[in-house]
């Protein structure tokens, strides 16, 4: 670490000295190289890193005081975020008519779940919230999970009344607007939502602490974040 640091200082001073040929710089950087100066710089970097890490987990939104009445994949009424209170939660936003982004998001949540299981990290819940409650009835969500062999021991799929769902996703900062559509031969019309691609890290008090692009997350990053939040 120290030698790497010295090298950076050397490089900086080399360029400045060669470019400007002012001896003052040389004197300045020689001084920098002395150990007290190094300590000061190290402390400065330390403080910077500390604040940067703190910022990573700023409170983005607070579900903590809310009590949304929703319905899980078994048709039972549950209160969100109460069902995850006391545990860190990974929350994904989906609609099941989505053939690409939402299955990717769901599969990424499965990858996180599998990694946590492997690394014996406990106290994490998974929640998938549908923003298309008109189509995503409990049995549709249940089948969506079942066909993928998802482990629902710590994973809940949620749907509910449209008004309630709308206020949940609004609070979450998730936007979902009906976009292109396909009309069935029988006249039925299905919409493909243009929607925020999102997985959220929610802490044990129901506060959103970090957002990720759901369909293309870095599993290492999110697992690392979960661990530092759980500890």
């Amino acid at each position: 670490m120290i030698s790497f640091y010295d090298k950076i200082l050397q490089t900086i001073s080399y360029f400045l000295v060669v470019k400007k040929s002012i001896s003052g710089y040389r004197v300045f950087f020689n001084k920098l190289a002395c150990s007290t100066m190094k300590k000061i710089i190290f402390i400065t970097i330390g403080i910077f890193v500390f604040f940067a890490c703190g910022e990573k987990f700023e409170v983005i939104e607070d579900f903590g005081k809310e009590k949304y009445k929703l319905i899980n994949q078994n048709g039972a009424e549950v209160i969100f975020p109460d069902l995850t209170k006391g545990k860190t939660a990974i929350v994904g936003y989906i609609f099941t008519n989505c053939p690409d982004i939402c299955p990717l998001t769901t599969n990424n949540m499965r990858l996180i779940q599998e990694r946590l299981k492997k690394e014996k990290v406990e106290g994490v819940n998974f929640v998938s919230i549908s923003f298309d409650p008109e189509n995503d009835k409990p049995d549709v969500l249940k089948k969506f999970a079942e066909i993928r062999n998802l482990d629902l021991s710590n994973w809940t799929f949620l749907t509910g009344q449209k008004l309630v769902i709308d206020s949940v996703i609004k609070k979450a900062g998730v936007v979902a607007v009906p976009g292109d559509s396909t009309i069935y031969p029988d006249g039925r019309k299905i919409y493909y939502f243009v929607h925020t691609d999102r997985i959220q890290l929610v802490d044990d008090e129901g506060r959103v602490r970090k957002n990720y692009p759901g369909s293309k997350i870095n599993v290492d990053e999110i697992v690392g974040d979960i661990k530092s939040l759980v500890d």
Binding site: T96, N97, C98, P99, D100, I101, P103, L104, N107, V140, K143, F144, E146, I147, R148, V175, G179, D180, T182, Y184, P185, I190, Y192, F193, V194, H195, T196, D197, R198, N211, P213, S215, K216, N218
Partner: protein, 158 residues
């Protein structure tokens, strides 16, 4: 006498099966359009899913994918997933996909796909489906795709 008839009938069925499976398995090796690594994402009956593959045009002339059809879904369309501002994602139909000469066009997650709307049965990992792709010049090409959750060959590097 009876056993001979039974044998003949069985033989006939074996023949039929053999010939259909051959025609479905093998793409015409002379075709300038070749379809590589077809796979389709897991889906429940009545749901929608997406089919992916790589189209290779080995010929000197450009070609165009103009349609896709399959008995596995009520409606089959060519789609693309697209990104918008603020991490928004959407999806829309595309009427055709150009495949320039001596090139490959990749249908992959978060991008081009054949959209299977309202699949008629559960598609579980390992199942196989049949789809016909129609090109302007190369004509109809039969594709047999395997059901998976992730791409073939693990090509999902972000």
């Amino acid at each position: 006498m009876k056993s001979k008839i039974v044998f003949a009938v069985l033989f006939f069925f074996v023949l039929i099966n053999f010939s259909t499976s051959v025609s479905q398995e093998i793409q015409n090796p002379k075709s300038k359009i070749q379809i590589h690594n077809p796979w389709v994402r897991v889906a429940a009956q009545g749901a929608n899913t997406a089919l992916f593959f790589v189209i290779e045009n080995t010929g000197e002339k450009p070609d165009t994918l103009i349609s896709a059809e399959s008995k596995i879904a009520d409606i089959v369309e060519v789609h693309e997933t697209y990104a918008k501002e603020n991490d928004m994602m959407g999806m829309r139909e595309v009427k055709f996909v150009a495949v320039p000469s001596k090139s490959k066009v990749e249908f992959k997650p978060r991008s081009l796909h054949v959209m299977l709307i309202d699949v008629v049965k559960d598609l579980r990992i390992g199942d196989k489906i049949h789809v016909v792709l129609t090109f302007k010049h190369a004509g109809k090409i039969k594709v047999k795709a395997v059901v998976q959750e992730m791409p073939i060959m693990g090509g999902m590097k972000h």
